[in-house]
């Protein structure tokens, strides 16, 4: 596990992920970050422990008469789970497992679509309450200056970007909301690949992106 992550998930996000109230798109970014971050994994365990205590203190609700027997029948029909073996570090790619599950493979399996210039995106299939996409921004290239109508959660997978809030490298997350307006610029060196979840369209300040927005679907 890497120890160089400087920007972590908020309590709000971790608690919503623990309670199960986060839209799928955001849950994917949270799960991807936790796959790389022991600190947030430990904080998540705390929030889940609260859920355990709530469940344990809950008033019981009587089960049907034949419930136990029905459950034993169900058990007999279900396939057995086996312990998942640790993956060989050498075959590990760029994407943590939850992201690979959505892409259907690692970075070479992504179906990129050009957004103009050399910027590319790939929208991943999730429930409609929020959207998650992979963004590919060549080193040194700036994203259009934009504000946010809702929440935007960005996590770096490769390379890095800089904006007014700081420097974001692999594993770092930026939580942007209505108050933040920013122009992320991919750092020189490696091209930047991010996963970005949003629950409302972005608000571009420049004329050109505003015209292009309906077509490219950001």
């Amino acid at each position: 596990m890497t120890s160089t992550i400087n920007h972590h998930l908020t309590d709000d996000l971790l608690m919503s992920y623990a309670t199960g109230s986060l839209p799928e798109a955001f849950s994917l970014v949270v799960a991807t970050h936790i796959s790389l971050c022991d600190e947030c994994r430990a904080r998540l365990a705390g929030f889940e422990a609260v859920g355990g205590a709530v469940l344990d203190e809950a008033p019981a609700c009587a089960m049907e008469e034949d419930s136990f027997a029905a459950t034993m029948r169900l058990i007999a029909q279900m396939p057995t789970e086996t312990r998942i073996e640790a993956e060989d570090e050498s075959v590990k790619g760029l994407f943590p497992k939850p992201l690979r599950d959505y892409v259907g493979g690692d970075v070479d399996a992504v179906q990129w679509r050009s957004l103009g210039g050399k910027v590319r995106q790939a929208v991943l299939p999730t429930s409609a309450d929020a959207t998650v996409r992979l963004l590919y921004i060549p080193a040194g290239v700036a994203m259009p200056d934009h504000g946010h109508a809702g929440m935007e959660l960005t996590m770096v997978l490769q390379g890095a970007f800089d904006d007014d809030d700081g420097h974001f490298g692999r594993g770092d997350v930026e939580v942007a909301n209505e108050e933040l307006k920013h122009t992320p610029v991919a750092a020189p060196g490696a091209d930047c690949i991010c996963i970005v979840a949003t629950d409302a369209p972005l608000k571009f300040s420049g004329l050109l992106p505003r015209i292009a927005q309906p077509f490219i679907g950001i």
Partner: protein, 182 residues
């Protein structure tokens, strides 16, 4: 006798018996305690009683099959059951997939450390007491957040409390729990 103050370590032993011996009596005890709570949990999340019954059975069947994946160094049995029930709820009620983090896997020879396990089970007991001792208005919001599939803004809409009040009460509650756990 207060059940929850004696049982946390016992649940761990019962799960171990399900894992190693496929022990139906041990599973029966887990079922008697957790199935009715999972059912209540699902009904508070909006499931009707027949869906809640069906899902509670599926959750308990998953407990049986995943017994070998339970790690008493990382979670109490109640917490582990909660996560299974929560995932079932997301699948059955919200019809969404649940992305889960990559598993942290120990080496194949790993045996749970007894003292780590005991420490964790004691902490969860302590957490349960701390939760019960929260001021009513804070505890109710925590329970709603975990029970209902309500976001903070949905709780605000339903209770008529301003979103800021909800967030600050939840924050206060979490602060208190953290203080208690130190």
């Amino acid at each position: 006798m207060n059940e929850r103050h004696t049982s946390d370590a016992r649940w761990v032993r019962l799960v171990e018996r399900v894992r190693s011996d496929k022990d139906q009596a041990a599973f029966g005890e887990l079922f008697a305690h957790f199935a009715p709570r999972v059912k209540a949990f699902l009904m508070k999340s909006g499931a009707d009683s027949s869906l809640a019954e069906e899902c509670a059975q599926e959750v308990m069947a998953t407990v049986w099959h995943k017994a070998q994946l339970f790690d008493p160094e990382r979670a109490s049995v109640a917490t582990w059951v909660f996560t299974i029930a929560r995932n079932r709820r997301i699948d059955a009620l919200r019809k969404q997939r649940r992305p889960e983090p990559e598993d942290l896997t120990w080496g194949p020879e790993h045996e749970p450390d007894q003292s780590e396990t005991i420490a964790l089970q004691q902490e969860s007991k302590q957490l349960g007491r701390a939760l019960a001792a929260l001021p009513q208005n804070q505890r109710v919001l925590i329970e709603r957040a975990y029970f209902g599939e309500l976001s903070h803004s949905e709780i605000a809409a339903e209770t008529g409390l301003p979103l800021g009040t909800i967030k600050s009460r939840i924050r206060l509650a979490l602060e208190r729990l953290r203080q208690e756990m130190k």
